[in-house]
Symmetry: C2
Subunit: 470 residues, 2 copies
């Protein structure tokens, strides 16, 4: 009977064609099959190949998502959710083909509960837009990955960014999610209560699941009051090691820095050129302090004293909003500023995170590899969390160059794992890092993840080929 | 064939006897079967009946736990983990019988990584002992549920307590767990990195799982530096509403209070009698501020100004450690201080948590119920999170009294759910709140939880009859 069923079942490509026909009859004006749009909706940000879905559907509400998922579930057709396309590890590729669900039109802010410091939004809202809408109410959502990502994508990759050292990651800032399950049903992971002990933590299970367990269609986020005072600073150091050691001392002494970002001298030079800054081309920390006027002043003073102990400083402060914006824009443009360093090459962002006591050592060994292997790879990092990126410039058309890049990345990840760290602090697994899952987690933990995936998506239709293979 | 298998399979009680024999031959000196010890290891804290396991094994290492679980897995015998016995919802009961695994001898502190602000401990370490060991190193673990609970139990119930408003709950303070799976294998949920996006968040799945998915045998916890300055305060209010509104304003204005606890006038009276305090018998907030000297002073001033707006104050400060200890001991003894209010009755702690904008309303309606139903139920609360408890004194031997208590609890939970809250902010589901899971989560979310339980514990041997029925 099993053999007969297998024989009578149409091949995947035929089932995809059937799904597209059904979707066309149901959601015609929201369906696009032209190649340019499909390619735009697959990986466009790194060395990974572009693997487009067979169709893109622009969902406008939870019911649209349910209808799409139900059609795909009936036909065992892959469903790939898409937010803003800023992911770095091929999360939005469709290696088996299937239907891409573009959520960018689901961009309504459904509620801002000022009294509760939370809001309810659709997943296509981007972080910049959210903060524009919140500003008048004296509130903000702190997480800031640089790119103007969608909040749905940020939740799905367990994103963090420059403010995480103080405000936490998406895991800490999502209160609840509405999710369309792989069967096309809707569930809500939690209430709006600030905390709960009522059963398994479904919120944290879907945060970081990269769309492999369901599609997020609504997000309840914690918000924060805009601080009374904000002060940013740039602090130069003689060496990367001195900068890292100052970061470690800052965290250990409990100064509640809101941002503490490392740029190595290669990155500072690139940023000077790209963002028209005139910083000393030496390892540098970009910082931000949030609090009351008095408290911000006190934090900055204490940081300055620590930096001086390691030969750093003096800090240059940016208090005016436009000065701060210029500074952080330069930091966020690190990726773009690296591109002119090797015209024609692709930029590949690495993403290890280690216990902070190992940070200086990990960064120094990585820099040694970069120099010895003759690579172009400026370093930036959310160093308060022990997380840093190298923007590796790779000529993917040159097999030797590509092989060298892969060797460098493998060595970097092995180094981080050996130091008790992770292969990805915030970018996620996607396709690019599946090969490191066993080394990081071990067989039993990986088997538990597979069991969860099989239990919640038994047909393996939700973003297949990402995180775990089942 | 299914029928034959069922017929040939010995009944549960026979299998339990067989498991005890196997355990005796393997771990003889760690096995206890006398009734007094077994009853001590079942629920002793609330109105729920005491349902002892058939044997208690005092595990001394992860290998012991693996050996116990393997024997029980082979024979389909329930395994119930036990930490310090302070749980409030019957988590440690053995409704089907089985083997209780006492983890209190697994109480070693395996590593304190001062530079990384973390530590690795066994699950039987209690929070007071941990803080005693950390003090000399200038570090502390902030979570404080009142009782001297084991950290394994605190992780398993997603505990929080008085400091959570500033430092978060166990979900926020566990970096990684070692877990013995229902098959007796060992997995580690994460590295020591401060953040990671590497796959499904197994740490957060086991935190709050109440031992239903595996047994925690090692915990990596975030630590914090002991603040430079700590100041505690007691602030009286004319009404519960004024106190709640002051709490809401405090949270909204971003004052980083470390503790903000409500005691209603009934509780203040009970605490005066029990802890020999001389507080005005009116609704009162107990507070604590952490920071630098200057910052603590500033926080207290800002709070005082807000309290005055609602008719509260003046605050009385306790700066000396012994004064602070006396104050917080009185707060922690709220449960015990309620017992003399109705001698012979049992104390049942309720545990709803609502969005903070609804806190005053929820507390006021609950107080009205208490008065109208003629109940004895002082109110205490971690009100900064929207979480409050009523210590309901119930004569469980009197059916009318018990029925009235149940009606009150049901009304309280329905009220909290209707306000967007949860039936349990920090005590957990256990046996006592399973009946509210569907109302809080809805059918689809509950089905997802069941699917996870079935996937990770297919034989349903891990603490069965808690959280979800499968």
């Amino acid at each position: 009977m099993v053999v007969a069923a297998a024989k009578s079942e149409p091949a995947l490509q035929e089932r995809i064609v059937e799904a597209i026909e059904s979707l066309r009859s149901l959601l015609d004006h929201k369906l696009v099959t032209n190649l340019a749009v499909r390619e735009q909706h697959a990986n466009i940000t790194t060395y990974l190949p572009n693997e487009p879905a067979d169709a893109v559907v622009f969902a406008e509400c939870t019911e649209d998502v349910q209808a799409i998922v139900r059609i795909c579930a009936d036909l065992d057709v892959p469903v790939i959710p898409w937010g803003a396309g800023t992911s770095l590890e091929g999360h939005v590729n469709a290696p088996l083909g299937g239907i891409c669900v573009d959520l960018s039109r689901m961009n309504r802010i459904l509620a801002v509960n000022t009294d509760d410091l939370d809001c309810v939004i659709e997943p296509g809202v981007t972080r910049k837009r959210l903060n524009e809408e919140l500003r008048d109410q004296g509130l903000f959502f702190p997480l800031d990955p640089g790119a103007d990502a969608s909040l749905g994508g940020m939740a799905s990759t367990r994103c963090s960014g420059t403010n995480a050292v103080r405000y936490g990651t998406m895991k800490d800032n999502v209160l609840s999610l509405k999710v369309v399950t792989p069967a096309g049903e809707v569930l809500t992971t939690a209430t709006r209560a600030r905390k709960s002990s009522a059963g398994y933590d479904l919120t944290r299970l879907y945060v970081g699941a990269e769309g492999t367990l369901g599609i997020i269609t609504e997000i309840t986020l914690k918000l924060h009051g805009i601080p009374e005072a904000i002060s940013a600073a740039v602090c130069p150091f003689p060496t990367v090691e001195a900068a890292c050691n100052t970061v470690i001392a800052t965290i250990q002494s409990g100064i509640p820095v809101a941002r503490i970002e490392l740029l190595d001298e290669v990155q500072v030079k690139a940023s000077n050129a790209y963002a028209k800054l005139d910083l000393a081309e030496t390892p540098t920390l970009f910082l931000e302090f949030h609090g009351t006027e008095a408290n911000v002043h006190e934090q900055a003073q204490r940081f300055g004293a620590l930096a001086a102990e390691y030969g750093g400083g003096p800090s240059v402060f940016a208090v005016k909003p436009e000065e701060r914006s210029k500074l952080w824009q330069a930091r966020h443009d690190a990726y773009w500023s690296a591109l002119p360093l090797r015209p024609g090459a692709k930029a590949v962002a690495t993403d290890v995170c280690v216990p902070i006591s190992r940070l200086a050592e990990c960064v120094m060994e990585t820099k040694r590899d970069i120099v010895e292997m003759g690579l172009v790879a400026p370093i930036v990092g959310h160093v308060g969390d022990g997380n840093f990126h190298t923007t590796l410039m790779v000529d993917v058309a040159d097999p030797d160059d590509f092989a060298k890049a892969k060797l460098y990345m493998a060595r970097l990840i092995e180094r981080a794992l050996a130091m008790g760290g992770t292969c990805t602090g915030e970018h996620g697994i996607g396709q690019g890092k599946m090969k490191y899952m066993a080394a990081e987690h071990g067989g039993e933990a990986l088997e538990a993840m597979r069991a969860i995936k099989r239990a919640l998506d038994p047909k393996n239709i939700m973003n297949p080929g990402k995180i775990v293979a089942i």
